[in-house]
């Protein structure tokens, strides 16, 4: 009986932890969505550009991150993007890259 109780509490703990992680994950997803939102002015809603700028929706995450790093370092010349890239952290590039990669083209 005691063992069953212990097992049950372990399961309860595991479920609790999973829920907390799911909650944290949802918050992360929303933060990524919020971070990406201002990009729409030039790159379209959720990266679906309607002209003049690259479509970010469905772009490979690693490619997005490497491009942003190159804008930030100056390795890739730009008219505007070097100034935006410098405003974000590498961690934020990963979040943004994952968000845009998840958008259907």
């Amino acid at each position: 009986m005691k063992i069953i109780k212990q097992q049950l509490s372990l399961i309860a703990c595991a479920i609790g932890l999973a829920l907390t992680m799911a909650g944290a994950h949802a918050a992360d997803d929303k933060h990524a969505r919020n971070l990406a939102a201002p990009c729409a002015a030039c790159h379209g809603t959720n990266g679906h550009s309607v002209g003049g700028t690259p479509v970010l929706a469905g772009l490979d995450q690693a490619l997005f991150v490497s491009q942003m790093k190159d804008f930030k370092s100056g390795a890739r010349p730009a008219t505007v993007m070097h100034q935006h890239a410098k405003g974000y952290t590498d961690e934020e590039f990963e979040l943004l890259g994952a968000y845009f990669a998840a958008q259907k083209r």
Partner: protein, 425 residues
């Protein structure tokens, strides 16, 4: 409506307010019957229209959104200076709200707000009231005509346009340029910052000069700036004036216009009287009147202090303010209004659904200025929330174009296309 004890007590407490404002709250009937959770948004410019669309989208259409707007159509203020230069018309910048209604289920109410009851949580219009759980106001700017003797809203509509809201006055200013003689003077008066669109007046000087250069080359553009210096993209504008419009644009700092002679088209500053053929006086600005109705224009009686995590007013709970009306070290631009609208929409959904707003809002602004019919330059910045200062602070690395270019002129056109698509389609 049955009265329980609690609402009966509230009714008693509100008796004074009802006495002071007859017609408020109970007298009016609900314009659209409120069923579930509702957000009312007042003002369907860049800020309000964006908030409406994103509230619907991000709440999976769970929150009812009623959008109140006085105008039938959306007219973009960004790029409207090009109407003066001649590369666009107002029709090019005019768009319908149909998608917000049909695609997103936003309930659009056209009308004029007459009062806001923050106690009873209702917006009053001539046709009735709209109750809300949360209110977002995106009122843009109003003009302080009383700061300039001789000027009024009527004068602006009839003969001395500000043309600082795109529409009829923009078209009128263009017509005045077409009617003026070759060799005439166009005077542009710029108010002290903060005002809507910091680089806008300097861009306007370029657009007017572009028209004059091609049509009335002996004419002059005189900039009377109340500020001690060019407030935005200074080096780039000075270069454009000198190189694109030599001898045509004259700039005067610390030249606040205090009085106008309407019939004579004379602008008076502390130092001189300027006689013009076309007079474009852009008056000092404050948050749109709706902010005062809601009692949230607390900063100098002009602008609205907000919590930058939610854009909730520092004065009244459940009232959020976005766009030009906000008091902040953020540019009063269309892109900025949309960025603020999205932070606000996300936060309002969390607050209404028992969640926690994003604690680290990070937003961006890109603003192009067209200095001819083909060339542009920009200013771009990322802004991050600083918890210690409780403010939005510009991140390192932002800045302006290295030089104006035709590439940026093309990109500016695509910026408009993409942002309008994001706001309205």
């Amino acid at each position: 409506m049955s009265l329980d004890r609690r609402s009966f007590l509230k009714l008693g407490a509100a008796g004074i307010a009802i006495g002071a404002f007859p017609g408020l709250a109970f007298a009016a009937s609900e314009i659209i019957k409120k069923k579930g959770q509702r957000v009312v948004i007042v003002g369907a410019g860049f800020g309000g229209a964006t908030a409406a669309k994103y509230l619907r989208t991000w709440s999976n259409n769970k929150i009812e959104v009623v959008l109140v707007e006085r105008n039938a159509m959306f007219v973009s203020c960004p790029m409207s200076n090009t109407v003066l230069g001649g590369s666009r018309t107002i029709a090019d910048l005019t768009h319908s709200y149909d998608n917000l209604k049909k695609k997103y289920g936003v309930k659009l109410v056209h009308g004029e707000v007459t009062a806001i009851d923050t106690e009873k949580q209702a917006v009053m219009l001539a046709q009735g009231k709209l109750s809300y759980d949360r209110l977002i106001i995106s009122p843009g700017v109003d003009f302080m005509f009383d700061q300039i003797e001789g000027l009024s809203a009527a004068v602006a509509e009839e003969s001395i346009p500000h043309a600082w809201k795109a529409g009829a006055q923009t078209t009128m200013l263009r017509k005045q340029l077409e009617d003026m003689p070759n060799g005439g003077v166009v005077a542009i008066s710029i108010p002290k910052a903060p005002y809507r669109c910091p680089p806008g007046p300097y861009e306007r000087a370029c657009q007017i000069a572009s028209y004059l250069k091609n049509n009335k080359p002996n004419s002059k553009v005189l900039i009377l700036d109340a500020n001690p210096d060019v407030t935005s993209k200074k080096g780039l504008f000075m270069a454009a004036w000198k190189e694109l419009y030599p001898e045509m644009i004259e700039y005067r700092a610390n030249a606040a216009v205090t009085k106008v002679d309407v019939a004579g088209k004379v602008a008076k500053t502390e130092f001189e009287d300027v006689k013009a053929d076309v007079l474009n006086v852009i008056p000092p600005m404050k948050a749109g009147a709706v902010a005062s109705m809601a009692g949230v224009a607390s900063v100098d009686g002009r602008w609205c202090a907000v919590d930058f995590l939610t854009y909730e007013s520092r004065v009244h709970k459940s009232v959020h303010v976005i766009g030009d009306a906000v008091s902040a070290a953020l540019p009063k631009s269309g892109h900025m209004a949309t960025s603020q609208a999205k932070v606000c929409a996300a936060a309002v959904i969390e607050l209404m659904q028992g969640g926690t707003p994003d604690q680290n809002p990070t937003i961006a602004n890109t603003c192009y200025s067209m200095v001819s019919d083909s060339e542009a330059m920009h200013v771009a910045n990322v802004y991050r929330f600083n918890a210690e200062k409780q403010a939005m602070v510009a991140a390192e690395g932002g800045g302006v174009s290295a030089q104006r270019s035709e590439i940026e002129g093309t990109l500016a056109g695509y910026w408009l296309k993409n942002i309008l698509n994001d706001v309205l389609v």
